[in-house]
Amino acid sequence: MNSTFGDLGHYAGPATLILSSLAGGSKHGYALTQDIEDFSGVHLQPGTLYGAIQRLEKQGLIEPLDDESRRRPYRLTALGASVLQDHLKAQQQASNVGLQRLSTGGSIA
């Protein structure tokens, strides 16, 4: 799991956002940027978005849907869902530890 995200290089951050967005339903490029901005406050620029999409598609984590229009939608694959779930669990664990340590206030100056 971690190696999959490690292979994404500097796209790992945008990739998490894209996969999380697609977990709520298939979307095309611009809808992805709007949704990501809504739930995370991060505005993904089009270049970064498509750099990450290309990587995710190549790794089989997302796939394009057949569509006649110029706005091609993408959806999460089963592999993508599993990788995202593992990644978010790991992040949640790290967040919990961090928050717990902050709440005890052990070594705050």
């Binding site: 339903g25 611009y30 750099g51 110029r70």
Partner: protein, 417 residues
């Protein structure tokens, strides 16, 4: 999560194509310009949908400079990946070809910086007794100031003062003091003249011996080995290109081969000019512009000061153009790339040795002659050489590192193919 793949759950978020308003011509033009950053294969796959995202972003007021910079950065990255310069997505031979082109440009970049160094450090190790000092002496002896000094020393007044001083038999006498002051004034006037100052400057130069000379020689040999590697590589590539392409479509390789031949001729001329350049007395002709003026006026005494840098530049530029064109126009066999990678690895070792030796040479020379960075040859147009030297060293380190990484990448790409 498990039902995400279910088509029934598919829902389009955002505007549908029918809702898309007609695009402003200015936005359409900007979108078209931005899309050009990407390679054709990428545009073929993602072009239409990417255009839509760009148009929507710009229409919604998010088309800032940041968007343009982001697209430019990603587009260039995509182009480099597609051509095999970065990443592993391109086919093996494309990556090998890209590595060889990178290596080629990097080695020639290194040689450019060493040519600049060779030009500006001329005379750093010569002994002033043999060259500078004898020239300064000759100039001084022909100067008006020296003539005046000689006349003063032979004048009846000086001789009378000398006679009185000797006759006094007392070094503290008034006669001795007047005689001494007269002599000192004449000497000071001579020292303050242009020729006198030049003579004293020549006297202050320090000849290099020992460690600096050894490191300089090592650096020269390492650079010659790198030049040899690139010459062998070019000859081999040219031969392979002729063998593969000549009977099929020779027009594709005639121009690159012409560039490479011109580069070789320029190199030979430049090498001859460099030898002659080393024989020009230190501090002359003063500046490149001065040498060029004299050359245009029909005075060919300082021709190497103009011909050497021009030929070095021409040789490197023509080699880059010809070599890169040849690499891009011919599909070489894996064994050609393997040989290029091997030669590049040898060159990489030589370049590293050259960089280290150059740094040690400058350091030891600096220790031996502390004023050489500011005083030797009057520096670049009379100023300190330190900025030029710093840039040259940075280029040398950067290009040699590129060659080390590039040769490893090239050999890795073609391993087993």
């Amino acid at each position: 999560m498990s039902s995400i793949d279910d088509d029934a759950k598919f829902e389009m978020v955002g505007r549908t194509p029918d809702e898309t308003p007609p695009l402003d011509p200015r936005i359409a033009a900007r979108v078209s310009r931005l899309l050009r950053w990407y390679p054709s294969d990428w545009r073929e796959r993602y072009g239409e949908e990417f255009e839509e995202v760009l148009a929507s972003s710009i229409s919604d007021g998010k088309g800032s400079l940041r968007l343009s910079l982001d697209v430019a950065r990603e587009g260039v990255t995509s182009r480099l990946k597609s051509a095999g310069y970065v990443g592993r997505s391109a086919p093996v031979l494309e990556r090998a070809r890209a590595s060889v082109i990178t290596l080629f440009v990097a080695i020639l970049g290194f040689l450019s910086s060493t040519a600049v160094l060779a030009y500006y450090v001329k005379g750093w190790q010569r002994t002033p007794v043999l060259e500078s000092l004898s020239n300064a002496e000759a100039t001084l002896s022909r100067s008006t100031a020296f003539h005046t000094y000689q006349q003063t020393m032979m004048s009846p007044t000086y001789r009378r003062l000398q006679y009185l001083a000797v006759r006094s038999h007392n070094p503290n006498s008034q006669a001795w003091k007047i005689y001494y002051k007269f002599q000192t004034n004449a000497q000071t006037t001579l020292n303050k003249s242009d020729a006198g100052r030049a003579y004293h400057q020549a006297l202050s130069f320090h000849p290099a011996t020992g460690a600096p000379v050894v490191f300089n020689d090592i650096s020269h040999i390492a650079t010659i080995v790198a030049i040899g590697c690139i010459a062998i590589a070019l000859i081999f590539v040219a031969g392979a290109a002729v063998r593969i392409q000549w009977r099929v479509e020779r027009r594709r390789i005639v121009v690159p081969l012409g560039f490479l031949s011109t580069s070789a001729v320029s190199f030979v001329l430049g090498a001859a000019a460099y030898q002659a350049f080393q024989k020009i007395p230190l501090g002359q002709p003063g500046s490149e512009l001065q040498a060029l003026r004299w050359l245009l006026a029909g005075n060919f005494r300082f021709w190497p000061a103009v011909v050497f840098p021009l030929c070095a530049l021409a040789s490197i530029v023509f080699a880059v153009i010809g070599g890169v064109q040849l690499m891009r126009r011919v599909d070489f066999l894996p064994r050609t790339y393997r040989l290029q990678g091997f030669l590049a690895a040898v060159a990489a070792g030589s370049l590293c040795v050259a960089v280290i030796s150059t740094l040690l040479w400058v350091t030891t020379l600096r220790l031996e002659a502390s004023d050489f960075l500011t005083a030797k040859d009057g520096g670049v147009l009379g100023t300190s050489l330190l900025p030029v030297l710093s840039i040259v060293v940075v280029v040398m380190i950067g290009t040699s590192w590129t060659v080390v990484v590039g040769s490893a990448r090239c050999l890795r790409s073609v391993r087993g193919s």
